[in-house]
Amino acid sequence: MSSHYEAPIREPLVLGDKSYHDISVDVAAPVLGKASKSWWIVFTIALVAFLWGLGCIIYTISTGIGVWGLNKTIGWAWDITNFVWWVGIGHAGTLISAVLLLFRQKWRMAVNRSAEAMTIFAVVQAGLFPIIHMGRPWLAYWVLPIPNQFGSLWVNFNSPLLWDVFAISTYLSISLVFWWTGLLPDFAMIRDRTKSPFQKKIYGILSFGWSGRVKDWQRFEEVSLVLAGLATPLVLSVHTIVSFDFATSVVPGWHSTIYPPYFVAGAIFSGFAMVQTLLIIMRKVSHLESYITVLHIEYMNKVILLTGGIVTVAYAIEFFIGWYSGVPYENYTYLSFGAATGPYWWAFWALITCNFIVPLSLWVKSLRRNIMWTFFVALIINIGMWFERFDIIVVNISKDRLTSSWTMFQPTFVDIGTFMGTIGFFFVLFLLYARTFPVIAQAEVKTIMKTSGEAFKRLRAEHGDDHSHVQHVEQYPADAGPAANVEDKDFDSAFDDLTEEESENNEIDIELHRGKIENLLSRIGTYDPEVNKQDDLKKISGVGPVMEQKLHQLGIFTFEQVSRMTDREYDLLDEIISEFPGRAKRDDWAGQAQALKNKN
């Protein structure tokens, strides 16, 4: 993706004086390095939770759904609550990777990889529940429209549950392909950096033989765009369809036309909260503070504010319309006086507090940029969104039309264990991912280095926006893009040169070359600021800001001076400035300067 202009007032997206090489090293470090103690501790906890959940699932399948707390009125509770919650969490990943890609939001690059991973892992958890919540999960394949031995038996295309099957499986596959596509150059980077032959083999397979050719990049860009285009409607459709499970029913509180947009907003809301939760930890643990910055967190908080606002408005509408309709059945829906004062008052207020009141604090900029507070709010939103689904499912059906069937729900240890198990499973996957996958789309981040990198921003601030550095670095094959990483020697990219020059070789030892300089100036003429006007030497192809600076040190300020240069002067120049032998001659600086001079 081509570079773009970014106003200097914008905060940089990549902090520190990062070189391309640094990015590669930083991103590859968790994969190539050893796991820390804390990783092992967290992984062990997650694994235990996962195994416990697995035990609960096996117990459920072998004994019956009765081991859950459900009853004849409340046929769904934690199972579908967890399902909707996990699917919702998945939404942020797709939104970040697809929608923000189409809208050219560069800040997504630091977070999209993990967000997409989160999406996939969350959808895996989500997909578990519709299967295990079945009374006979071994027949789960019956919901697929496949030819079967039962004669003309076919699925019921009227059922929103069937739509779910299609929606979730489409979503999972598109997300997976999208994620993988983005991973290809990064896998290749790891393949090329690792010294272990085994890893080389594995990452070689995973990267599908990525070679970094221009054609690779071109296809990469195109596929990314196409997939983004395909995935964008999915952001809207998946949770819309999940909401149809409820919206198309006749249960008061479920039967609500506001559900599709409201569910989508809620999903993004909860998804971003989960991204925050994960990345705030990961940036710390994997030392990615330079890439996932406070700015990223603030941007995501703004999305949370927006979607949280939409959700809140939806709550208000639900409450108002329910009351305004005057239908007595609406008196007990999850957003109603009945719910607020009934036996599930705590669930109602948990919803209001977590999803409305606490996120309001993000309107305050200092809190929005406070990482600890953001983490806290994100956790609260995760809890709140779980309660939203719990309220929608349990509170609504607990007080349905026929009062004789009213009852309540209490989870058993299996309900709780299964949920905890999926959280454990999710973290097992995520932690494994964090150790084996490039968690930041380094190839993409490299593309925004020059526009959004802090060092470049500073450079531009010092030398003005017009101060072009592009021409200079373009001479090097390594500048072509992240494929520069293919070979180790190319890690010393142009940027490295520049910074090194600036930091170490910037000063020309005037005393050492005094004789040569005088000789040179005598040939091409001296510069008198009072008489002559300074020209912008950077207009000469081959002269960058650094070279210009050096020429200035030598006392060369005008095209007039440069245009007088011949082979002898070029040699002198090379002797004084040793870094770029022969460049001036090759580029015919004198000729260029002549032309520029005449233009003036």
Binding site: G66, G135, N156, S159, L161, V250, P328
Partner: protein
């Protein structure tokens, strides 16, 4: 045509002398197969470990093994008939008319048998005065398959054979000569048994026969005997009464044998703008009180005064509202003249006499042909009990009664009983009495026995076995025959008796086929001794009779009653009945003290819902003199008279009862002097009881317009239908249209005009909430029993439930007004809590409504539930994957999910977990596995049977042929089932009736089940 084409293999063929061509022609294989290479080298072959012999061995072995493996398969034992019985056609049910007479429940029934197994009880439509086929009678078929039954006679704790037993008994009886031996039996109401017993007592003059009704009707019997000379109960035809006043009598329950609901319901269905007026004065909330037009709270002591006031005395001293009600009731009774009926359950003779005298001119009372279902005399029984305790009685033979369990002083009695010289118990189970008896005669279930009965004078019925005795049992009568040395067996004896008199020359076979026979023949019954002088006098009885009990100390007046499920407790080991929810409290697996809200508050008793919605309640200790019942759970009962409490008899049995079914507390110790009303003291005890209550929200929260519609007779007669039975409206193009309008429908309708289209009508005026349909459905459809813990989790499997609602206001109408007028927050508090003082009560049987636009059908991902051509919503269990979406989306919440495997699972050790109990299963209905949804099928197996029978016979189906288990079981005629495509059908008339409405009609589900709304007669004049 032969082809002349020549096919070339190669150009070599052009060369006529080619060796290659020749070689190809001569040799099948052009190049020689190098067999020698692998067979020629004998040395190598010999050194190889696999010889040809080995190879053949392997082949042989694998073939044999594969064959053996293929032979293996599940072994299902099925034993064919050696000689096919003529009357049994596999797959076709046989029905036998019979009679149940266990001393508490008397009913003429039909027994449905399949392949020789009785699987269901149905009412005998030929029976006119055939008792009541209630829930217990329906469930009795399962008691046949009770695995805790006695398997043979026992002498001194050892199982013996009948010959040994007979010898032992004969020895004993001979040894007892001259000593006082009592034959204590249930009421048989059986002419043949009576005769047989008199023959037995003639042979053994030291044996005297005493009848013991564990739940006594002695007062009424005494009163009737005093007035009319026969020891019997007057029969009432409530359909002939215009004004019914009941003082405490639960005549829709078990009052005096309880067979009045049919007549009552007839009078309650509006006909020509008229229905009877029913006023109930009572302390406990009973089924009868729930159905009354006007229910007045009165404690038993007040009831006494009310009865006096109604029959001429003064009402002074009663609360003002009661006085008013009494005066009005009195006026209405007088106005009705001979169409008035006054009934009471007050146990004393005086009260019963008052009612009897009052009704003397009533058309509704029949004294000429009274009921013979209760014969016991309190004083006689007391004499026996005292005799046993004092030791003056040396021997006791008990038949069909369980005095060690059911006597008020059972502990004292049990000790004395063990000291008796002779104790012989005829029992089906090793019950409390049998386990203490020295000799136990194992008796068969009534479905294995012969017998006859005269439930109502002049109406005889026969009991016939429908299965060969499952165990080594012999019925009481056969034993007597054996011991008196009479005719070969009881069957011949009955036949002889009947032929001699009852049949009046008619055919025995016809009588047996019909099961019932009206006969004017007076069969000489055993002379029942009149009560001792002074009409039912008992120790310490005063002129107030049994009210002596109330003179005891005690702050609360207790009314003991029998629950709809367990009755007197004979069938305690029947899981269907245990799981049957009480129609009023809707609690199953328990008995409990019902307490008024005011008293509960005063005593600090509480009922609350725990977090999963289940009900918990406080415990109390009930004290009456020295008797203390500890830890009796409490239910705070709306409509319970303040100062009164209620408790059901028949619970707390432990002997020969499976552990799960040892439920409740035994209330018989409080049944002092066999009086249902007692004074007791109550104090709170520690701990909380866990109830298994299937309905937790008692009110309709102001939704009665959509759930139970109701109006008054006056409005019904005078106002336009739109005022009292309006169809809900929805908006269409900004104007309201009825939901029944086609335009209100976004679905294309099913074509229901071809073939049959089944509808079910439920008349809420006629439904008494008796629950017979619930058990009938249980039996017909193999509905599993899930146990108390699961019911408590709200997972009962009943396909048919009877919802019971209390009004939050004085009436349901007031409840709606409250909902509409009160501010939001107050609304919830007000409309959700029943008016504890004296709410209006309504019952509503709810099963799958078989919606024509069923919400369940659209949401099933695998189309396991779909619409049938005959209107049913059908459930394909095999296709169900168990997402439960259909249940969530069902507005009626009638779908039941198999949370576990309920059959052949030790966790659910009920009838489906043993071979004996599984014999009751209906082979026409599949037993569902776990993980699938099930629900009412509108008994599709029954309608299909009817259709196929008619098809085979090549005839049209007449109206009335179609039925479901519930409509068959309904005695009051509240449920009518039929084909609405039949223009002549009753169901079509019901569908067009003005009272017809659909449950939750505004949802637009268009159910095939509809209800007839309640009309109450509120006129005071």
């Amino acid at each position: 045509m032969a082809s002349n084409k020549k096919y070339w293999k190669s150009v070599e063929e052009l060369n006529e002398d080619s060796t290659i061509v020749k070689a190809l022609k001569d040799n099948e294989f052009v190049t020689e197969i190098p067999t020698d290479e692998f067979l020629g080298n004998k040395e190598v072959l010999e050194t190889s470990s696999t010889t040809r012999r080995d190879f053949l061995k392997y082949v042989g072995f694998t073939t044999a093994a594969a064959t053996l493996a293929a032979c293996e398969g599940p072994v299902i034992k099925s034993i064919p008939y050696v000689v096919q019985p003529d009357e049994i056609v596999p797959g076709v049910a046989n029905y036998y008319a019979s009679t149940m007479a266990d001393g508490f429940d008397f009913a003429n029934i039909l027994v449905k048998t399949r392949e020789g197994r009785p699987i269901k009880i149905e009412k005998n439509d030929l029976a006119v005065n055939g008792g009541s086929v209630n829930a217990r009678v329906h469930a009795s078929v399962l008691s046949l398959y009770d695995k805790n039954r006695l398997t043979g006679p026992i002498v001194d704790g050892a199982e013996v054979n009948w010959a040994e037993f007979d010898t032992a008994v004969a020895q004993k009886l001979d040894g007892m000569a001259g000593k006082d031996v009592v034959l204590l039996t249930q009421t048989f109401a059986s002419p043949s048994t009576s005769k047989l017993i008199s023959e037995f007592t003639a042979k053994y003059p030291n044996v005297r026969h005493v009848i013991y009704d564990s739940v006594s009707c002695s007062g009424a019997l005494d009163a009737f005997q005093n007035k009319y000379g026969t020891r019997a109960l007057p029969d009432y035809d409530f359909s002939k009464a215009d004004v019914i006043v009941s003082v405490g009598a639960d005549f829709l329950g078990d009052w005096q044998g309880g067979s009045y609901s049919k007549g009552y319901a007839q009078g309650r269905i509006p006909k020509n703008g008229k229905i009877s007026r029913h006023i109930q004065f009572e302390a406990n909330l009973t089924l009868t009180g729930a159905k009354a037009d006007k229910r007045v709270l009165a404690t038993p002591s007040q009831q006494m005064q009310i009865l006096k006031a109604l029959t001429g005395g003064s009402a002074s001293g009663l609360p003002e509202n009661v006085v008013d009600a009494v005066n009005k009731a009195k006026a209405q009774l007088q106005k009705a003249g001979s169409k008035a009926l006054l009934v009471t359950s007050l146990p004393d003779v005086e009260s019963q006499t008052m009612a009897l005298n009052f009704n003397a001119n009533s058309e509704a009372m029949d004294v000429n042909k009274p009921l013979l279902t209760r014969q016991g005399s309190n004083s006689e029984v007391m004499n026996v009990v005292n005799g046993v305790v004092s030791g003056s009685i040396k021997g006791l033979i008990t038949v069909g009664v369980n005095p060690v369990y059911s006597l008020p002083n059972n502990i004292e009695f049990a000790e004395a009983y063990q000291k008796l010289e002779m104790s012989l118990a005829f029992a089906m189970k090793q019950d409390e009495t049998a386990s203490l008896a020295k000799m136990v005669a194992a008796t068969p279930h009534y479905l294995e026995s012969w017998g006859d009965a005269q439930i109502k004078k002049g109406t005889y019925s026969l009991m016939q076995p429908t299965i060969r005795p499952l165990f080594n049992t012999r019925q009481f009568q056969d034993c007597l025959m054996q011991w008196t040395g009479k005719a070969p067996n009881y069957f011949d004896y009955i036949k002889e008796n009947w032929t001699a008199s009852i049949l009046e020359g008619g055919s025995w076979n016809k009588a047996l086929e019909a099961g019932v026979l009206a006969s004017s023949a007076e069969m000489i019954m055993e002379e029942v001794k009149p009560a001792a002088e002074g009409a039912g006098a008992m120790e310490g009885s005063t002129s107030n009779g049994a009210f002596s009990a109330l003179s005891q100390d005690g702050d609360y007046e207790l009314t003991l009653y029998t629950s709809t499920g367990l009755g007197d407790g004979q069938q305690s080991n029947n899981p269907w009945l245990q799981e049957f929810p009480d129609p009023i409290t809707r609690a199953s697996w328990d008995n409990f003290l019902t307490v008024s809200a005011a008293d509960a508050e005063a005593l600090g008793l509480e009922n609350y819902h725990v977090s999963n919605g289940a009900l918990n309640g406080s415990y109390v200790n009930i004290a009456m003199g020295n008797v203390v019942l500890e830890n009796v759970p409490v239910i705070i009962q709306p409509g319970q008279a303040k100062g009164s409490v209620g408790l059901a008899l028949g619970y707390g049995k432990t002997a020969a009862i499976q552990e799960e079914m040892q439920t409740g507390v035994n209330a018989y110790p409080l049944y002092q002097n066999f009086s249902e009303v007692q004074k007791v003291n109550i104090e709170k005890a520690g701990g909380m009881h866990e109830f298994a209550c299937v309905q937790l929200q008692s009110t309709m929260a102001g939704r009665s317009n959509e759930i139970i519609k109701e109006t008054t007779l006056e409005i019904f007669n005078t106002k336009n239908i739109s005022e009292w039975n309006a169809v809900p409206v929805v908006d269409y193009d900004h104007s309201p249209i009825e939901v029944r309008d086609k335009k209100a429908d976004i679905w294309s309708p099913f074509d229901n005009t071809i073939g049959h289209h089944f509808n079910l009508s439920i008349d809420l005026n006629a439904c008494t909430g008796c629950g017979a349909c619930v058990i009938a459905c249980h039996a017909e459809n193999n509905v599993p029993v899930v146990g108390k813990e699961e019911v408590r989790k709200f997972r009962d499997m009943h396909w048919l439930r009877i919802d019971r609602y209390y009004s939050a206001g004085e009436t349901f109408k007031e409840e709606i007004e409250k909902l509409e007028n009160l501010p939001a927050f107050e609304t919830f508090k007000t409309v959700e809590v029943p008016a504890y003082e004296n709410p209006q009560v309504a019952f509503q049987p709810v099963m799958c409504q078989h919606c024509n636009h069923a919400p369940c059908e659209t949401v099933c991902p695998v189309a396991a539930t779909s619409h049938g051509r005959q209107g049913q919503n059908q459930m394909a269990y095999n296709r169900c994957v168990g997402t439960r979406y259909c249940a969530n989306n069902c507005p009626y919440k009638v779908r039941r999910f198999n949370w576990f495997l309920y059959n052949e699972n030790d966790e659910f050790d009920y009838n489906m977990n043993n071979d004996l109990g599984r014999m009751v299963l209906n082979p026409d209905v599949v037993v569902r596995s776990r993980g699938v949804m099930e629900k009412c099928s509108m008994c599709i197996q029954m309608t299909q049977k009817t259709i196929l029978d008619a098809k085979r016979d090549g005839r049209a189906i007449k109206d009335g042929e179609f039925s479901t288990a519930c409509s068959n079981a309904c005695e009051t005629g509240a449920m009518v089932f039929g084909d609405v495509n039949d223009d002549a059908s009753e169901i079509l008339k019901m569908k067009k009736d003005d009272r017809m409405y659909h449950l939750l009609e505004s949802t637009g589900t268009k159910p095939n089940v509809f209800y007839q709304m309640i009309v109450k007669n509120t006129s005071e004049a």
